[in-house]
Amino acid sequence: MPENSESSDLIEEWELIDRELRELRKRRADWDFIRKLPLELREAIEVYIERGDLREAQHIADAPLDEFIEVLRRAKVWTG
């Protein structure tokens, strides 16, 4: 584990990155596309937009990783 000050700098940097990516996903999301998806996929994308946790969202979607990333791409919210 990094030293405390190094670790807290890292956490601050990650918080900033997470915030930026969340804003990016919200700004770019293609809601016309997302609204037409089946409920599970729509919920999964909303969770991904909010939290950016790929695996968590993929499990909600109950879809293979590769296909789920393709849906994120089409919804214009694939970030990292």
Partner: protein
């Protein structure tokens, strides 16, 4: 920054990388690549499968068979990561990639933020492997002069356009500083 001569490919990395027009550059950076069988099974769409097939036919990529001893270490990494709320979810395929990269002393290429954050918070669990996302690999490519006609911001723009994958502007700036290519 120097990189190991070999790499381990995670599914979420190759799914994006295979869409980039200059994806072949990976072979100029690493002499060989490995991918665990379980990770390969996550790749099911045409473009990444075609890219993987080409890498296998070139003799560059080796699919690593499943070994139970790797699985036990992977479960231990998953459980350690779940205890830390700062680390997003890690699943067995990317955990196995990490363990394989550690065994081989390779670079692990992944977009999985759980693995990337676990690497920064628990280095001892990964050493001597190093973990890179596509953003850092692009910075390395730029710093090595492999795309002399293209600046780092242009390279990022090209990759984002080809893969429909967006990076955080702050992270792009931080990585550019880290690699001395501001």
């Amino acid at each position: 920054m120097s990189l190991p001569s070999t790499c381990v490919l995670d599914a979420c990395f190759i799914i994006d990388w295979s869409r980039w027009r200059r994806r072949h550059l990976i072979k100029e950076i690493f002499s060989a690549g490995f991918m665990p069988e379980i990770t390969l099974r996550e790749v099911i769409t045409e473009k990444p499968l075609r890219a993987l097939r080409e890498l296998i036919l070139d003799g560059w990529l080796t699919i690593y068979p499943h070994f139970r001893e790797l699985e036990e270490e992977a479960v231990s990494l998953i459980l350690d990561a779940r205890r830390d709320p700062r680390i997003p979810r890690i699943d067995p395929p990317e955990a196995l990639c990490s363990i394989l990269a550690r065994r081989l002393g390779s670079a692990l290429l992944t977009e999985n933020r759980g693995i990337i954050r676990a690497y920064w918070l628990m280095r001892e669990k990964f050493s001597p492997a190093i973990v890179l996302n596509s953003l850092r690999l692009l910075a390395y490519i730029c710093a090595r002069g492999l795309t002399p006609e293209t600046s780092f911001p242009e390279l990022i723009e090209e990759y984002e356009r080809d893969s429909n994958h967006s990076f955080s502007p702050s992270e792009v700036r931080a990585v550019a500083r880290e690699f001395g290519i501001e």
